[in-house]
């Protein structure tokens, strides 16, 4: 636990040690605010449905960018050799990195709280669905992050890690979307809808906290962190 915390602190500080962290957050906030406000006054409703509707797609670009350097850079620069000869277990390192990136995404999300607060001032939005939306966003982000870390472990090129991360997230997201579901035979529809990353987010952001959705996201996180561990083992 202390070892994980040590790695966490190091990774978390690294986000803000260079301008990169601030740039990420700025771009994320500009994109979310603009996409939100673009439709807000047209619909003329005090609701964040539009915001949570685009979030899975913004995350698709934003989250793999947060994780792409986590392993790729370590291997490119060679610091992996220092890190992995310290008396730390692999899973402690992986977990530390994951939690640091999760904290970073959580901070980015927290900064968008301006939107619901503004909405609450000018109208009366459904608080339950907003709280659910943020919990769902964090879970969805965690799943994307785990996938991104796995992708980063596959290569020493950050761009490759970024694109592979996006590709895996995209496939898992689209799996449960209507565009795919329409093409499937009826018995398969609920299966794919369950496997897709989006449907669970939609159900949580309606304000319904179902344990199945939470278990789903945690399983994705555990699976990809485990795959990341296996990749590291194979590289030894």
């Amino acid at each position: 636990m202390t070892n994980t915390l040590t790695v966490f602190k190091k990774e978390f500080r690294t986000y803000f040690a260079s301008p990169m962290g601030y740039i990420y957050i700025t771009v994320f906030l500009v994109a979310t605010n603009w996409l939100f406000l673009r439709g807000f006054f047209l619909i003329n409703q005090a609701s964040l449905r539009g915001f949570f509707g685009v979030l899975p797609w913004i995350f698709l670009l934003f989250v793999p960018a947060v994780t792409m350097r986590l392993w790729a850079e370590e291997r490119k620069v060679g610091t992996a050799e220092v890190l992995m000869t310290l008396p730390l277990r692999d899973h402690e390192i992986v977990l530390g990195k994951f939690l640091a990136s999760l904290a970073f995404v959580a901070i980015s999300l927290a900064l968008t709280l301006v939107l619901p607060i503004t909405t609450a001032i000018i109208g009366s939005p459904d608080t339950g669905s907003i709280i659910g939306g943020y919990i769902g966003a964090l879970l969805l982000g965690a799943a994307y992050l785990a996938i991104g870390i796995f992708a980063s472990g596959l290569t020493e090129n950050q761009i490759v890690a970024f694109i592979v991360g996006i590709a895996i997230c995209f496939v898992l997201l689209v799996l449960g979307e209507n565009i795919v579901l329409f093409t499937l035979p009826t018995p398969l529809v609920p299966v794919f809808e369950f496997l897709g990353l989006g449907a669970h987010f939609r159900s949580i952001s309606r304000g319904v906290l179902d344990s199945r959705d939470i278990v789903y996201y945690l399983s994705v996180v555990v699976l990809f962190l485990y795959l990341n561990l296996r990749t590291l083992e194979n590289q030894r």
């Binding site: 202390t2 070892n3 040590t6 790695v7 602190k9 190091k10 500080r13 690294t14 040690a17 260079s18 620069v77 060679g78 610091t79 050799e81 220092v82 992995m84 000869t85 310290l86 008396p87 730390l88 277990r89 030894r236």
Partner: protein, 326 residues
């Protein structure tokens, strides 16, 4: 302190380390010598548990690298080649991180970091980001990382590569000082470094161990197979037939032109024996006279070249001759 037995590591079809065994005694400074790509780094990475050997094992400070990798890592200070560092971190942040990861926490941490800054003379740059440091400073930060937990064993991969002559001397002095109380395994392809710092050396080539011993032992061993040069004044045909008949001469040839009846020859003794005395006696009994007689000295460079190039073509030889940067 380190005991490696039959280590093998393959990367796809290439065998990087092929059946290497050696031991390093407590308090010894062992030089790991070999051309680039010989398998030095791979062997060190196996010992530090960065890589896992395909077969064979090693114990470090009594712990098995497969069974107790964490305990092994605790006892080793490892400086990888070119000292990779987190460029975005400041020197002090980096050392704090390493100290914490090494289990030096709370009160002990600040003391350990301050001590390292002192030992490696990093005082002026503690608040700078590592990416902005010069090569020499980076190497010192790397060394500070290696030494911060006061390890029993140091594994240093080419600790002086890329440094200027003053820094090289500085680092060598430091290694020598550390070698008095610690066990050190260091790799290099620079020969003078071995004689300057190591008490014993191992030469590996193409993943295999080709020789081990003290620098003196190895050059003695090679000079036993060395040649003797002799200048004899006498009739050439008789000298020729006598030498051809002598059982203690493996082969011989004339060096240069004869000057009158003075002939200069280079001989190699059979089975590596020293033939100086045999030559002397022969010259005396035949009634010729002896103008010079000496054994050719073999330098460490020649030992190294002979051991690592025996089965290769001239292309490799030329490539190798560019290696020595000093």
């Amino acid at each position: 302190m380190i005991e490696a037995t039959n280590l093998v590591k393959r990367f796809g079809p290439t065998v990087a380390v092929n059946d290497i065994s050696f031991t390093v005694a407590k308090g010894e400074v062992l030089g790991f010598l070999g051309p680039n790509g010989a398998g030095k780094t791979t062997t060190m990475r196996i010992l530090t548990c960065f890589l896992v050997a395909d077969s064979g094992t090693a114990t470090v400070a009594g712990y098995d690298i497969h069974e107790d990798p964490i305990e092994v890592r605790r006892r080793i200070g490892y400086l990888p080649e070119t000292a990779p560092l987190y460029n975005d971190m400041t020197v002090v942040d980096y050392l704090n991180f390493i100290a914490e990861a090494r289990g030096i926490r709370n009160g002990g941490r600040k003391a350990a970091v301050d001590r390292m800054i002192e030992v490696t003379s990093l005082k002026g740059v503690t608040k700078q980001s590592i990416g902005s440091l010069s090569r020499g400073y980076r190497q010192r930060v790397g060394l500070a990382q290696t030494l911060i937990h006061d390890p029993e064993i140091l594994i240093l991969d080419e600790p002086t590569s890329g440094l200027d002559p003053n820094q090289i001397i500085e680092i060598r002095e430091l290694i020598k000082r550390l070698g008095e109380e610690k066990t050190v395994l260091l790799s290099t392809h620079i020969l003078p470094e071995v004689s300057a710092t190591c008490s014993r050396m191992i030469i590996i080539d193409q993943g295999e161990l080709v020789a081990s011993g003290t620098p003196e032992e190895l050059s003695n061993q090679a000079s036993r197979e060395g040649t003797t040069v002799v200048s004899i004044r006498g009739p050439l045909p008789e000298i020729t037939s006598t030498l051809a008949a002598a059982p203690w001469v493996a082969d011989w040839h004339q060096v240069g032109e004869s000057i009158g009846d003075l002939h200069r020859l280079r001989l190699r003794g059979s089975e590596g024996r020293d033939i100086a005395e045999d030559l002397f006696r022969t010259v005396v009994t035949k009634g010729w006279s002896l103008a010079e007689l000496y054994r050719e000295q073999v330098s460490l460079e020649e030992v190294f070249l002979r051991l690592t190039m025996s089965e290769r073509g001239d292309a490799a030889k030329e490539e190798r001759s560019e290696v020595n940067p000093e």
